[in-house]
Amino acid sequence: MLEIGKFTSLVRAEMRLVYAYFFRRKSLVVMYLAWPYISTAFMLVFGYSVGSPKFFAERVGVEAPLFLVVGSYLLFSIMAIVDDIMWRPIFDENSGVLPYVLSSPTSVVLHYVSIPIPRFTLSVALGAAALLPVSIVYKGFEGLLVSLAVIALSILSAAVFIPLATALGLGLYVTGGENWRAISFLRPLLLVLIGVYYPRWLMSLPLYILSSLLPPAHCVEVVQRVLVGMVEVQLVTVPLVLATALGILYSPGMLRVSAMWELKKLREGVKV
């Protein structure tokens, strides 16, 4: 009970921090609203110059704009998790906040689990504003239902991704030191493997296996199946159970890596 109270208080604090940063920078609000459209427009322009939209719809089973807007929305939401978790230790260290975070009685794990939640809620809410109109235009009332399913699945993707993202992020910092290169290395890799823009069922076997290790990849697969109308119970429930199971499976790893990261910091001395 005490831990839940602590956690909600932490999430509230993080929300104040993130929302203050967000709403005091109007350009960020605009960027959050426009991002799914910008990335979709970019990919459509690029895609139409080398292939045909008809071929895309035949091969994937859904119109390219809808597929890409949903994909961008999912990616934006999922990447909010990776970015926040990987970016915060560096940001906190550079701004001199880290010593005060680490010398607080709050556990590192509890803190890092609370970190991505506010930005994720923002990206879900603002991204939905971009997702809903396109879905409704293409699919009418069914589009509204599809959008709600996509939002729910993006929330699940994020929740099950936190343990692995924390373990990966802090693990990279433990082994390679803290720098932006780690984020630059991890982001594109996840972008491909999660299968947002390239459906998993079209991947080669080695890529498919690697992708299967990422909890959000299974949620993304369900979203894509919903989009193309393949909503058989087994095809939907199995990936969701797998995603949840992987999220739970990675949790001990997150605890261990967090402890290793904290120990490394304490051995080197937290930079002031």
Binding site: K6, S9, L10, R12, A13, R16, L17, A20, Y21, R24, R25, S95, G96, V97, P99, Y100, V101, L102, S103, S104, P105, T106, H111, L263, L266, R267, G269, V270, V272
Partner: protein
């Protein structure tokens, strides 16, 4: 509150290994001994100054006591809680201030920053809001109009006040302050000093306070510990430390005429003449070093009269804490003294 020493450090040792690059593929490891067996204590309600030149080990000591750095060997505790094995208990008892110029989120106001850190400290919301409001008033940020201003717009003095407010947020019995007035304007520095003094005398908080400012340390601290190259070289009250200096004082002789001949005769008495023919306020100044000034002042007067030199005034300089600092850090010899 537990009785006894608030802060205890025994034989703390810390080495840092740094990699030095000498070429594209070549590098070597360099070991820096930051602490070489540092032992100290801070009593309940006591303000102890940790003085030392850059790289002496002050910040390393503060970091170990703040649970932000693991020592290689030795033991340290806060009110009996081991800073390594019982870090989470220690963290409830300490308030830290490590830098003045950063350590907060720039896009949050002072109040929002304090609420954020209070949440990290697990404080209950209503109590936290009340406490934050009280502290913003106490450190003078409300008066300066800084409570609800963005941190990135703060002056250095305001940043320091906010940092002290954070250290006091959970009303800890122990404060670990690393150069809390570094670079501050006099009013802000004075405010910080008076608050620290007040916290110790009225609320019984124990404070470990590092600084380069001798004047400040003398004003604020009950006891001073001098550290150099990772070793404690002297310890005691400021007065006690001054009395530990060799019994040599400077006598300043102010005269209307050039004191050249006086200097020659004084040197014949076996006294060391430091400076002569310096002019201050239209008078010539001669500086003489003597072991027992009282015994030689009469002789100096007699010589001056015989040489026709009018002495306007004579002054015996008392040693300052700065003299103590320079003496012990340059000597580099451990000379521990318990007050």
């Amino acid at each position: 509150m537990v009785l006894g020493d608030a802060v205890v450090a025994e034989k703390l040792v810390k080495r840092f290994v740094t990699k030095k690059r000498t070429g594209l593929l070549r590098s070597y490891s360099e070991v820096v001994e930051a602490l070489r067996g540092v032992s100290l204590n801070v009593g309940a309600g006591e303000v102890v100054g940790l003085l030392g030149p850059n790289g002496a080990g002050k910040t390393t000591t503060i970091k170990i006591l703040s649970t932000l750095l693991l020592p290689d060997s030795g033991y340290a505790s806060i009110y009996g809680y081991d800073v390594v094995r019982e870090a989470s208990e220690v963290r409830k008892l300490i308030g830290i201030m490590l830098t003045v110029e950063k350590g907060f989120y720039g896009r949050l106001t002072g109040r929002e920053n304090l609420v954020y850190f209070g949440s990290l400290y697990g404080m209950e919301r209503r109590e936290l809001e009340r406490r934050v409001d009280h502290l913003l008033d106490l450190v003078g940020l409300k008066e300066l109009g800084g409570a609800d201003r963005l941190y990135e717009e703060y002056s250095l003095g305001m940043k320091a006040r906010l940092a002290l407010a954070r250290a006091l947020l959970k009303d800890p019995p122990v404060l670990l302050l690393d150069e809390p007035t570094l670079g501050l304007d006099p009013p802000s520095a004075r405010k910080i000093r008076s608050l620290v003094r007040e916290m110790a005398s009225k609320e019984g908080k124990s404070v470990l306070y590092t600084s380069h400012n001798m004047f400040e340390v003398e004003l604020v601290c009950d006891r001073v510990i001098l550290i150099n190259k990772g070793v404690i070289v002297a310890e005691g009250t400021p007065e006690r430390l001054k009395s530990m200096l060799p019994d040599v004082r400077a006598i300043e002789v102010y005269s209307k005429q050039p004191p050249g001949s006086l200097a020659e005769e004084v040197a014949k008495l076996g006294l060391e003449v430091r400076e002569q023919n310096q002019v201050q306020e239209g008078l010539y100044v001669l500086k003489i070093l003597a072991r027992r000034p009282d015994e030689v002042v009469g002789d100096i007067m007699k010589i001056a009269v015989s040489r026709g030199i009018d002495i306007v005034r004579m002054k015996v300089e008392e040693p300052t804490l700065e003299d103590v600092f320079i003496y012990f850090t340059e000597r580099g010899v451990r000379d521990r003294e318990v007050h």
